[in-house]
């Protein structure tokens, strides 16, 4: 399977070239276009079994869909186009281990990768600006994530601070806690940053340039009531 990410970063599209027998599991609704030599199977389970009702429900809590689409190329030279829901970037991650992904950023992955949801804890659920659950991707293979705005990668070794709502994904070797941006809580809020996510440890962190709630709060008042 070969891939190319087109039109980065504002309106990215993922173009996949697949040979006969190659498979990909993708988020429901992510397919933009495809050649005719694919079979598409929709189920609540991982390709080839595994998971099931509970995992499907957990995915829903994490902001993903209960169902998954499994694309299998029946002939060589098939192309598949996938795109994210929001205007933004797509990134490729060669997974070997576990990556924690914010709800709704998972777009597609190798069928061997396990897509599960993990509870982030009360404090983080309330203040991280993300879904109550994270999507936990484990295994080996290609993983494609989407974002709102551009994605940038940070190699953390020590400590790093990210504003709430800007996390796309991070390696499971990183730990984060919710803290205030400045010295004082009032100062943090007056500075417009409020609470932030403070990462520690060693590993890769992926952030997005925009965050959907802030965009919504700017756009919302300008919309005419229906």
């Amino acid at each position: 399977m070969q891939f190319e990410i087109l039109a980065q970063p504002a309106a990215s599209v993922l173009r996949l070239s697949m040979d006969a027998g190659e498979e990909l599991t993708a988020e429901v609704g992510a397919m933009i276009a495809m050649s005719t030599g694919f079979t598409v199977e929709t189920s609540g389970r991982k390709k080839g079994g595994g998971g099931g009702l509970m995992k499907g429900l957990k995915r829903m809590f994490a902001g993903e869909s209960f169902f998954l689409n499994h694309f299998t190329a029946q002939q060589s030279g098939q192309t598949l186009y996938l795109g994210p829901k929001l205007l933004g970037d797509i990134m490729h991650h060669d997974l070997s281990g576990t990556l924690i992904v914010q709800g709704s950023s998972w777009m597609a992955s190798d069928p061997g990768i396990d897509i599960d949801a993990s509870w982030q804890g009360f404090g983080k659920a309330l203040f991280s600006g993300e879904s109550m659950f994270w999507v936990k991707c484990s295994g080996h293979g290609d993983l494609f994530l989407s974002s709102f705005g551009a994605i940038y990668e940070i190699d953390v070794d020590g400590e790093y601070t990210v504003d709430t709502g800007h996390i796309v994904a991070f390696e499971d070797t990183l730990q984060f806690r919710i803290g205030k941006a400045g010295e004082s809580l009032i100062g943090s809020f007056l500075g417009g940053e409020g609470l932030v996510c403070k990462f520690s440890g060693q590993g890769k962190l992926y952030c997005q340039s925009h965050n959907p709630p802030s965009f919504g709060s700017v756009l919302g008042p300008k919309l005419k009531p229906r």
């Binding site: 060669d94 070997s96 281990g97 576990t98 924690i100 993990s118 994270w134 080996h140 190699d155 070794d157 991070f170 390696e171 499971d172 070797t173 990183l174 730990q175 984060f176 520690s200 440890g201 060693q202 590993g203 890769k204």
Partner: protein
């Protein structure tokens, strides 16, 4: 890198951070060797953190990942396997052993904290559920005060025919009514709801019982008239039932049974809805039995009524003692909800002792005349009674709110 022998056969899944690896990180299988922690990546490369140069840290997204680093942080081996710390403690000595011990102690402390937090949460949820239930029940009972007494009367009117049918046959006789009216006239002026219109219906059955319907209708069973020894005892039973009416125990019970719906209807002022719902619930006999608290209130209210009306209130205790089968005739659920006779008699006597002294006069009612009049009325009504016999002959005790 090292010519290592394994300390044991255990293998743990994890990873390694090293500059020599493309991207700086790779997944690896970890073993505990003679000299250090050994990680083998999928491409077959080995990395070793020597025991004497190993620094341990806990972290990762789960907070349970153990990082084993060299002191210059150039190499890190990590794993989340729960068995790894114990295995590492077995393989290590000196400073590293102490580091592992600290990590294991922190893990045990975290486990205890989480367990405590978990049980605390379960307890809090249970407390909220129980508290919410009682708040709802209390709220629904309190809301009854806001409902006009006319609602009680309408529920009473609606359910009277079906309750009569349930117990047997009504004996209608003007002379018998006159006896009952004397008791009503004596007691009614002293009740807490002066506008309540009381009426007594005589039910032609041997059961020793009396039933109060919301609004003021009281059903007295022929068996009760036969069982009482004095007219004052009969008045005490009627006083007890009148207190059920004026203290609106039926509406309270309905509000409690259908709490949320009733409270909602009371709040939005849907009187029609309350009446329909109340009538339906009241007819469901099992739901209509009163609580021990309501029975206690009715006992004491009855005593106060007798005292205020100048009737000797000791008749209330006597009636309970004289006709013990008043309870024996009742269903199990009724017995469960009623305090036992001794406790009731004690409570009544305690109240009587605290009442201010006053002159009591006997009721001008001849029980024998009343019984004869009832017999005459029953004889005149005989054909109708025969028709109703299948219902009357039933020995099934009633669950309804009865004396």
């Amino acid at each position: 890198m090292f010519d290592e022998h394994d300390f044991d056969d255990d293998e743990f899944s994890g990873g390694v951070f090293a500059q020599e690896i493309d991207g700086g990180r790779a997944g690896a299988y970890i073993r505990l060797g003679d000299r250090g922690i050994r990680a083998r990546t999928s491409d077959g490369r080995d990395f070793v953190v020597p025991y004497e140069d190993c620094r341990l840290e806990m972290g990762g997204a789960s907070g349970r990942m153990l990082f084993c680093r060299t002191s210059d942080r150039s190499l890190t081996i990590f794993t989340e396997d729960r068995k790894f710390p114990t295995a590492l403690q077995r393989a290590s000595s000196g400073g590293l052993f102490e580091q592992v011990e600290k990590i294991l102690a922190a893990g045990r402390s975290r486990h205890r904290r989480n367990l405590l937090l978990g049980w605390g949460l379960v307890g809090a949820v249970l407390a909220c559920l129980v508290g919410g239930y009682f708040a709802l029940v209390w709220g629904a009972r309190a809301a009854v005060v806001a409902v006009p007494f006319s609602v009680d009367e309408k529920i009473g009117e609606t359910v009277t025919p079906s309750v009569i049918q349930e117990f047997g046959h009504e004996l209608k006789d003007d002379d018998v009514d006159a006896f009952f009216q004397q008791i009503i006239d004596k007691l009614a002026p002293h009740t807490s709801v002066p506008q309540a219109k009381f009426r007594i219906l005589l039910i032609d059955t041997d059961d020793v019982n009396a039933v109060a319907l919301p609004g003021g209708t009281i059903m007295v069973f022929r068996g009760l008239i036969d069982a009482v020894e004095t007219p004052e005892q009969l008045a005490s039973v009627i006083g007890h039932e009148m207190t059920h009416v004026t203290n609106r125990h039926a509406l309270r019970r309905i509000a409690q049974s259908v709490g949320l719906i009733a409270a909602f209807e009371i709040m939005i002022g849907d009187v029609g809805g309350i009446i329909a719902l109340g009538a339906e619930v009241f007819q469901h006999a099992a739901l209509s039995s009163y609580s021990q608290g309501d029975e206690h209130e009715a006992d004491l209210g009855g005593v106060q009524l007798l005292h205020a009306a100048g009737i000797d209130p000791r008749a209330a205790a006597e009636s309970l003692q004289a006709i013990p089968h008043l309870e024996l005739h009742e269903s199990v659920s009724w017995l469960v909800s009623h305090p036992n006779t001794t406790a009731r008699v004690e409570a009544i006597e305690e109240l009587i002792a605290s009442l201010p002294p006053r002159e009591y006069s006997p009721l001008d009612i001849n029980l024998e005349d009343l019984r004869k009049q009832i017999a005459v009325a029953a004889g005149r009504d005989a054909p109708a009674k025969a028709d109703d016999s299948p219902v009357e002959s039933s020995d099934e005790p009633s669950d309804a709110e009865s004396e």
